[in-house]
């Protein structure tokens, strides 16, 4: 419990650096609070110094403040992407700009993506003008490289526009690794990947001595790896394991049981088949609700109504985009949530799966993920239903700062629309 407070303390510290006092209010919005208050119609939200001060239908506009009129449009918390490479890669095919995976070592636990994140990535404006405000930027395990990929960081999509330039909200927020097909690709087989993971954890536990008495061979971990994995063993940092097949998820659960890991399952194509096991250990799942094809042998049983099965079993989950790991098109996370609704999920629950639930899973929910007094004001005012593919944000605030609705893409659009022979018929 104390540790949890220490983690969120990083976020709170950022707020303390805020220089100017800022106060604004949004009135007459349909506020999807994501909190106990549910959805409030005709509601007012007051924001002071980047924090939500008040939310409700009977909230008074502070004196001297001209409220922003929402005209009954929806106001939601900013979208939180629980697994992405934002800030870590610009163009997949341009290797100079792609720092997602280490290719040198089997273990890169000591790797900290925060050392390489780029706040001026063109991907940030593209996604934030579509309502994405926070993301986990994660390293990837990779064939010919690392099984334990390293430590991801929580970022603000305000990037260089963040207050005081503090856009890396929480470095070393989670450890990323792979089992299953990806693990076997790196280690040679599934059990080899599992054994390699155990070896690393044992070695970290022994303070850097190889499994056994340390005489069986050289240590495989660097001191940085050991230090990082100790934090995982001490549950100061969750371990996000990429696993899909039901049996691989069970293997991950066993690893978590054996070492007391705070596990997060990413992928989880067959999580619905082991929902009870996940629920009994309170292990959350990052899942793509649009997947329905057996694209891999480890995803043969993937099904689009998996979220409903998980919800019924009491498994906590957040939505991720399994294709692009939510980077260039992290903005489409809300489409995935809409697809989940089309497959029978409640609208509020689907919205929560891209706002409050990822905040909870990433340990951010006491400052982010819902519109409640005291929380950071990451707000999106939409022109209509945020889960509908035809909607778009009118305005976006990150930590109470209004983001310019401009990206490299809108600039290109404006340049070429002017040159079109057929003039726009306004």
């Amino acid at each position: 419990m104390i540790r949890r407070h220490l983690l969120t303390g990083v976020v709170i510290a950022l707020l303390a650096t805020r220089a100017e006092a800022e106060l604004f209010a949004i009135r007459n919005a349909v506020v999807h609070t994501g909190g106990r208050a549910g959805t409030l119609t005709g509601a007012t939200v007051v924001v002071r110094n980047g924090r939500i001060e008040a939310v409700g239908t009977d909230v008074l506009i502070p004196e001297g403040v001209t409220p922003i009129e929402a005209h009954g449009r929806p106001l939601t918390p900013g979208i939180i992407v629980a697994h992405s490479h934002l800030g870590l890669k610009e163009i997949d095919g341009v290797e100079e700009t792609n720092d997602v995976a280490s290719e040198q070592k089997r273990y890169s636990a000591g790797l900290d993506v925060a050392d390489a994140l780029n706040p001026r990535s063109a991907l940030l404006p593209v996604n934030r003008i579509d309502g994405v405000t926070r993301a986990m930027s994660a390293p990837d395990a990779k064939k010919g490289g690392s099984l334990i990929a390293g430590q991801g960081a929580i970022i603000s999509l305000a990037g260089s526009l963040a207050e005081g330039g503090n856009w890396i909200v929480k470095p070393r927020a989670a450890m990323f690794a792979a089992l299953g097909e990806q693990g076997r690709e790196i280690a040679g087989s599934r059990p080899a990947a599992f054994a390699a993971m155990r070896e690393a954890l044992e070695e970290a536990r022994s303070g850097g001595l190889r499994l056994g008495d340390g005489l069986n061979g050289d240590a495989q971990l660097s001191p940085l790896d050991v230090e990082a994995l100790k934090r995982v063993l001490n549950r100061e940092m969750p371990m996000v394991l990429q696993v899909e097949r039901a049996s691989d998820i069970l293997a991950a659960l066993k690893l978590a049981d054996d070492y007391g890991l705070q596990l997060i399952v990413s992928g989880g194509a067959e999580a619905h088949r082991v929902a009870a096991e996940l629920a009994s250990r309170s292990v959350p799942v990052l899942i793509d609700p649009s997947r329905n094809l057996p694209a891999h042998f480890e995803t043969l049983h993937v099904r689009p109504d998996a979220p409903a099965v998980l919800a019924k079993a009491g498994v906590k989950f957040a939505f991720i985009d399994s294709d692009d790991k939510g980077s260039h098109n992290a903005r489409n996370l809300r489409q995935l949530a809409g697809i989940a609704v089309a497959n029978g999920m409640r609208h509020d629950d689907a919205l929560a799966a891209i706002t409050l639930k990822p905040a909870e899973i990433l340990g951010l929910s006491n400052v982010l993920g819902s519109i409640e007094p005291g929380k950071i004001a990451d707000l999106v005012l939409w022109d209509r239903d945020p889960l509908e593919v035809t909607s778009a944000p009118d305005r976006v605030w990150i930590e109470g700062r209004e983001m310019p609705m401009v990206s490299r893409q809108t600039l290109l659009r404006d340049r070429y629309l002017k040159r079109l022979k057929a003039p726009p018929a306004k």
Partner: protein, 489 residues
């Protein structure tokens, strides 16, 4: 071994019987065996009909009979047809995806099923994508649930000239011939840009290694094809003497020059497309559509002038440098362009087994982006991006792609507006036969591959009475030495 020898003997005999049967190209060596099943007439009553020809017909009846759209109007008599009450629902032409790799890059995606790129030489005009199609790809069925009635399956884009693509009806089948769209022309898949020069130059140490190498490659191939065609045309004229030797690759390219095979070209950048339009002009062929074309908006006027379609994504971008300048308004801008030759031709394509299931949503995103940018686009206009325009790019517009009397009864009844994330295809007809009924998913056979996936679940009920503890007894004790020494909380 004996069997192998026998087979050869049979082949030899056959060859001897007809002196040299393969010396000249058959009209179609792989003819369609597709036959829509017999189906009764269907009256879809009171739907909102988006016809694909820029019209929206509210509260309208559509009668499907003998595989065709028999009549469209108000209060049509059922005359014994099965009546579907469609009030509040939308009826559209069947969705056509001009860019799919279903069957050639199927699910599951493993080496054994990876059949989409003959990446052994930059020009492989002799290969046909259809010979790679695995009809059991579960993706076909999933696409049907998204309203896809017709699709073009293409070779991949590793090569400058990747081979022939094929147009198929999206019906369950055991052989691909049972899916072949009758009398549809084959296509030639070509590719610009980074892929060929990466596969051959960067990874293979051979030409093409550059953009200029790419263009030299297309030109060299078509220069050869032009003389090959001349030789064959001359021989066909008189049929005197021995027929020229056949070259399967040049045969495909000669068919392009004759207009019998339609060019579908993967190109991202505006400058590359402008270059290719000149190459096409030099050799006298037409590029039916540029595929992916994330920079099509930069040359929307040129595309309209040359009547070249843009087959595009709503919002994919950034995975390589040539996809860096994508904008959400690409489709709407290509659509909005006007020229003396006609209007722009915009198509929403997928190139993806997931995207193909929700092409309507992709169109909705493009439509909304266009409207926000100030372009006036109606729903009844935008539906053509998924239906009439792809039909035009595939040369099948006389047969399908619109809801007009006499056209194939390829139609989709949606639960609501197709331009919504919440809308689902309720009923899908292909040539008048009901091929998807969302309310009765079990009525449609699964892909063979999916059969038995849930065999344990089916049997599980029998074991329901067995206490769970019984299973635990079978697990041996883990020896102490090998046990994890977990002392975690």
């Amino acid at each position: 071994m004996i069997r192998f020898v026998c087979l050869c003997a049979v082949l030899l005999l056959a060859a001897c019987g007809d002196r040299n049967p393969a010396a000249k190209p058959a009209a179609d060596p792989f003819p369609s065996t597709y036959k829509p099943p017999e189906s009764g007439a269907v009256l879809i009553r009171g739907a909102t009909v988006l016809t694909g020809i820029d019209t929206r017909l509210d509260d309208t009846d559509v009668l499907l009979s003998d595989g065709k759209i028999a009549s469209i109007g108000k209060a049509l008599a059922s005359g014994g047809a099965t009546v579907i009450e469609a009030k509040g629902r939308y009826l559209t032409p069947g969705i056509i995806d001009v860019h799919s790799h279903l069957g050639v890059y199927p699910a599951p995606g493993v080496w054994a099923t990876s059949d989409g790129n003959e990446a052994t030489a930059p020009t492989t005009a002799e290969v046909w994508a259809e010979h790679s199609i695995w009809p059991q790809d579960p993706g076909f069925q999933a696409a049907r649930a998204g309203g896809i009635t017709t699709l073009q399956v293409l070779p991949g884009s590793a090569n400058l000239i990747g081979g022939r693509g094929v147009v198929i009806k999206n019906v369950p089948a055991v052989s691909y011939q049972q899916m072949l769209f009758p009398d549809a022309k084959r296509s030639l898949k070509m590719a610009c840009g980074e892929n060929p020069k990466r596969v051959y130059g960067k990874n293979g140490g051979r030409s093409p290694a550059t953009g200029m190498g790419n263009v030299a490659g297309y030109r060299a191939a078509f220069a050869k094809a032009a003389s090959y065609r001349a030789k064959w045309d001359a021989w066909n004229d008189k049929k005197a003497g021995a027929a020229p030797d056949r070259d399967l690759g040049l045969e495909t390219l000669a068919e392009v020059l004759r207009g019998n095979v339609l060019v579908q070209m993967h190109c991202y950048r505006a400058d590359q497309m402008a270059t290719m339009l000149d190459v096409a002009k030099e050799f006298g062929f037409k590029i039916n559509a540029f595929h992916h074309a994330v920079e099509a908006y930069k040359i929307a006027d040129l595309l309209a002038e040359t009547q070249t379609c843009g087959a595009l994504w709503a919002d994919w971008w950034g995975f390589k440098l040539e996809a860096w300048d994508a904008i959400n308004e690409n489709i709407a801008i290509v659509d909005a362009a006007r020229s003396d030759k006609g209007a722009g031709c915009a198509i929403v394509h997928s190139d993806d087994p997931n995207g193909i299931q929700r092409l309507n949503q992709e169109a909705a995103k493009a439509l909304a982006a266009g409207r926000r940018a100030g372009l006036a686009i109606s729903d009844e206009h935008a539906i053509a991006w998924l239906t009439a325009n792809p039909a035009k790019a595939l040369g099948i517009q006389e047969k399908t792609g619109t809801i007009e009397t006499g056209k194939a009864a390829d139609v989709v009844l949606w639960s609501g507006s197709p331009f919504s994330v919440y809308t689902r295809a309720d009923l899908v007809w292909i040539d008048g036969a009901l091929r998807l009924d969302r309310a009765h998913p079990d009525a449609e056979p699964d892909s063979d591959f999916m059969l038995g996936a849930d065999v344990d679940e089916a049997a599980a009920a029998q074991f329901a009475a067995v206490p769970a503890a019984a299973a635990v007894i079978a697990v041996p004790e883990v020896p102490e030495a090998a046990a994890p020494t977990g002392d975690a909380p």
